[in-house]
Symmetry: C2
Subunit: 324 residues, 2 copies
Amino acid sequence: MLSIEKAREIIMSELEKLVIPQEPEKLYEPVRYTLRNGGKRLRPALVLLACDLFDADYQKALYPALGIEVFHNFTLLHDDLMDNSPIRRNRPTVHVKWDQNTAILSGDVMSIMAYNLICMVDSEVLSQVCRLFNKTALEVCEGQRLDMNYSQKDNVSIPEYLNMIGLKTSVLIAASLGIGALVAGATDKDSAIIYNFGMNLGLAFQLQDDLLDSFGDQVVFGKKIGNDILTNKKTFLLIKAFEKAKGSDLLVLKKYLSGYDFDPREKINEVISIFSKLEIRKATEEQIGKFYDNALSYLNDLSVPPDRKEVLIQFSEQLMKREK
Amino acid sequence: MLSIEKAREIIMSELEKLVIPQEPEKLYEPVRYTLRNGGKRLRPALVLLACDLFDADYQKALYPALGIEVFHNFTLLHDDLMDNSPIRRNRPTVHVKWDQNTAILSGDVMSIMAYNLICMVDSEVLSQVCRLFNKTALEVCEGQRLDMNYSQKDNVSIPEYLNMIGLKTSVLIAASLGIGALVAGATDKDSAIIYNFGMNLGLAFQLQDDLLDSFGDQVVFGKKIGNDILTNKKTFLLIKAFEKAKGSDLLVLKKYLSGYDFDPREKINEVISIFSKLEIRKATEEQIGKFYDNALSYLNDLSVPPDRKEVLIQFSEQLMKREK
């Protein structure tokens, strides 16, 4: 059976081999730059693992796996432009290193390259794979739109937030697993189960990301602590804190949410101290636990021998323990 | 047999019926706005006509036809943003009516909607249709990149220019015909022939567009005369004029190409008068004639009865006579 490490190695080696044209240089060089970002390649690894889970040759899932990774990186490229983020993985983003038009057009070409790879899947499953991928790609755009809307909206509820991160993050993780299953020729029931496992795991993963922004170890987390707080990002933690806060706590939260020109250290410390007082960490961990347990309980229903499921359990554990 | 008018009517009616979600409104409303632009729907009409040409039911080509029209409009949306064009078909462009991020994301979702429609073609031809469409979509991006590069480049040659407009404009016209043929189950030879007919017709069409900018009738052309001249666009006419101009003519051209702050009327008149003096109209018409004749000569080799080809000849004539 395929191990997680082996799956990631295969993807990294195949990404290296991916043929990206030389010309026009200003179209394809930003694509090369974006794809060689040292990412963890979790999504394409999941495509291979899901295919292997159903005892099919993972080679059949290689192209769609690469397609999903290229698509994911296309969304990061355009999202960074729309959010005006200057840095991704310690390197300048494409619109900073080149310019805005280059980011738009090289992103566009990446989305087409993603489809090109997806469409190289065996023709017997092409139609099903395209259907799931298309649905997912539309949902990812919807999630990004809601995220942009919510940054301008005062009252975002927990259900609205969960719906948004479900679309923006979880559906692509779920579809990675679903596409791996489709390629393997899994039954509709098993494909749906593994998709739902991915949805719940994706939600747990995104909430954990929210949590680590306030309570993670910066070295292991790999991002600056408190960045969501500084940029007034409406995360699960902040929405929950607004639900619970009263009196002076509410006033302090409102004050900090009203602008960007506060002392950064002070803003981060004060908001985190309100989070602690209101037991937001605990509330978030409980919600993460629910999604995580949901995810694992889906695995019980899969019609594959228990020992074959081990790798997905291991994957889930690794994914959720990344702050340690 | 399907007439040109009937094909366009079918496309317009199907575009009206196209289901575009309501929410998120700021994602899909710009898509609706972009697709309801009163366009001529030439490309999707060609998909249907090519399918009908080989005696197949044009209904089978409906989804890919719509997909190609949505893709074409996606490229216009992003191109207008990248070129910072405020107006398209007498209406504000999406980045002006909404904002830049909306133009990026609603464009992205349109490209996915295009694929969604393309993938709804019969599964027997899905793989072939996707292959041609993917190749074409990549080429359109390459053409746009070259167009942006050339706007910053001093010496663009005629072959470079023809290659660029081939990629940016002609390949999608060619692919519309090619995809119609694939859906109809035409032979590889016939599909290649009709693709080449489209490439040459597309080149003739774009050069005619260049010509009409200087020598067209504004009312019939539907665009302001001299816009390419004002924006220093390196069209076939300007490149040819630079090849031929000497002495004071060359100096005048160089002067006007050096900036944007000249009296518009004067700049347009003076550049057109140099074009006239250097017989640029004639040179352009000759080049158009070559591509047009090439296009029609491909039709001779098609293995369909001559009377079935009439509609494509008629289409070509209508397309090229639009200034009258």
